[in-house]
Subunit: 393 residues, 2 copies
């Protein structure tokens, strides 16, 4: 086990009807909030009315900024920063999924950052000050409600970059699984692929003596797979959505990766897909993850046997460990298929033209600097990334 620091200060208020608590919960810490949301589904569902009524009743003033799209845009972030400064906002309330929350975090640090906040993403500058962010989750997927991470797309540069800081961890997150009942089926699939990836990126490691976190990862993955199928069969299954919502938070609050060297190559490879093709992050991950597994498993077969046996339930002869591993990966592909997720880049509408460019962007070769290989479990150079893209064409 490696040394680590665990810090997950978000207060998670979880369960039925919890959205009605938002006003009283924010009142002690905010006079005026920025209500940040997406394309307007919260207006159709009545959630917008419930939230604004609760804020008003609690005497919390608010400005608002809607219009966050999946793969949230830098331009809207700039707009939000200006709005917060103009209106004297002292907390940002993100009502939505990961894109809305990530956009809120970018605004939160942009309010204090002296230059263009994009520099933080591109140059990894340390940020210690940000407005507090609270969230009300409408899509279990990104885990952004408990993480200090944010991913933003610079549409002008066709770059999608992530950044993380403890200063960006939400102070409060409200999770009511009933809000997930009306999600389109595709969002369920994307969300599950994303949440599973947050665990996979931490699970596959060369660090040894990681009993507790191995087990935490395996339990979280099994919970996600079981309950994704239940929620798909019955979109009003409260308990299934509750398991997904809770597991999504646990998957990305840091806990399951503590003391382990982590990977994150699949996330890096996927960001290039959505930066250019604007595909759903979870859809891209569902295509890339099995491809990544087949490309890297030989580097640590015992780790992948553990995955196949403990997560995917494979049984068989340990005298042929590779067969166990490949059966485990096949089962993961089958699960993604059952969830209606794409299997290939072609399914995503991505042809072969830009694969080399994306591989070079993912490893920073495209920007003329030194190559930054992707991944902790196995270092991937740009040719490796290209091989993986080609393997899932």
């Amino acid at each position: 086990m490696q040394n680590f620091e665990f810090y997950a200060p978000a207060r998670i208020v979880f369960g039925r009807d919890t959205q009605k608590q938002i006003g009283p919960l924010l009142a002690p810490r905010a006079k005026k909030v920025l209500l940040h949301y997406g394309g307007g589904s919260i207006k159709k569902s009545g959630l917008y009315d419930a939230v604004t009524a609760s804020l008003r009743d609690a005497g919390v003033a608010f400005a608002e900024l809607g219009g966050v799209r999946p793969n949230p845009r830098l331009s809207l972030v700039h707009e939000g920063i200006a709005l917060c400064k103009r209106e004297g906002v002292d907390l940002i309330l993100a009502v939505g999924g990961g894109s809305v929350i990530d956009s809120a975090k970018a605004i939160a640090m942009g309010v204090y950052y002296p230059g263009d906040v994009w520099e933080v993403y591109e140059e990894g500058k340390p940020v210690e000050e940000a407005l507090p962010v609270a969230t009300m989750l409408t899509i279990p997927a990104a885990g952004s409600e408990s993480s200090g991470d944010t991913v933003i797309t610079n549409e002008a540069k066709q770059m999608k970059l992530g950044y993380g800081s403890p200063a960006l961890r939400p102070v409060l997150s409200i999770v009511n699984p009933e809000l997930f009942f009306t999600l389109p089926e595709s969002q369920l699939g994307y969300g599950v692929a994303d949440m599973m990836s947050h665990v996979f990126e931490r699970y596959f490691t060369n660090t040894t003596h990681t009993d507790l976190t191995d087990g935490l990862c395996e339990v979280t993955l099994k919970t996600l797979m079981k309950n994704a199928l239940l929620a798909k069969a019955d979109p009003k299954n409260y308990d299934a959505w509750a398991e997904l919502g809770f597991a999504g938070t646990v998957a990305h609050n840091g806990l399951v990766g503590m003391g382990r060297e982590q990977d994150w190559a699949c996330h890096g490879m996927e960001h290039e897909l959505s930066a250019i093709y604007d595909v759903a992050h979870g859809a891209g991950l569902a295509v890339l993850t099995p491809g990544w597994m087949r490309y890297v498993y030989k580097d640590n077969i015992p780790m992948f046997v553990q995955f196949a046996v403990n997560v995917m339930g494979v049984r068989g002869s340990y005298r042929d460990p590779e067969a166990l591993v490949l059966e485990g990966i096949d089962r993961l592909s089958d699960f993604f298929k059952k969830m209606g997720l794409p299997q290939t880049l072609a399914d995503l509408g991505i042809g072969g033209e830009q694969l080399e460019l994306m591989a070079k962007k993912a490893t920073w070769v495209a920007y003329g600097g030194e190559e930054c290989p992707l991944g902790g479990f196995k270092k991937l150079r740009w040719q490796d990334v290209l091989n993986i893209y080609r393997s899932v064409r």
Copy 2:
């Protein structure tokens, strides 16, 4: 799954040499700390010197109060409160195990509480203000480094009572598994029994649809049992102690019990043993827990089959579920035995004289008020508690 609120804000700094970071970590938030510790083993081990040097180098002044005993006493708490007020302390640093940390929490709230802080324990008065507490853990057991709980013994009244509040959650906890190498073997056993009990009290539930937390509990229990045996065989096994230290924190930061009706009868019954006989908390739990299991399992056999199969690894015929359950409980007893833990009250030096009094104290019948049955999984009246005490004589 029930609605829940999860809040575990302690920053956990975990790993080798982390004790040296204490000064720089506290400097931004404290000018003067109370260094609170136990019987002086930290002076023999050199930890006292390392901590005070780090504080001095970082410009953090300190007062000090040693002498905390297992089952920490109210009288020392009173002394600490007066000292903090006199010295203008703004943070309490507990260097020790659960007793030292629990004592620190009592002092932390006592500084602000207008009356005798014992009233908080006896009357459950809500406390919202307390000095911040930081911890440096020397015994993995109580989980107090991440919980908001404190248990104090009023020696004059022979009462041992617990209290919990989010205001008492430590702001920072340093966990260096190397500090555990020199613990006496008995402390390892007591600690493991206590950490397992923190999970059991949450695991045994009648709440349904708890996939994630069921799994988190099971993984934590298995990690504790496996690594306790490793640390017993080799007290300098860093990785084994690291798993124990991390699992102990996860066992009691609240996570594994979220959304579940919890039990806590074994803790309630044990507190009566240590209030009168001053036995080690973990030793009392090791005696009572299998007895409690045998007394209550018939109320929810499927829950206990899950325990036997998923935690204790029992395999057999599901057509005779009771046999599976009893085999699981026997295996737990065997594990405690292997760890050198007592099996009966007689092993603890406790005779039959006070059993009825303890049963009546545990359920508040002894104090003349209304009976407060113990336990969430199964409500235990004083006669039930007495039956359990007698069953493990």
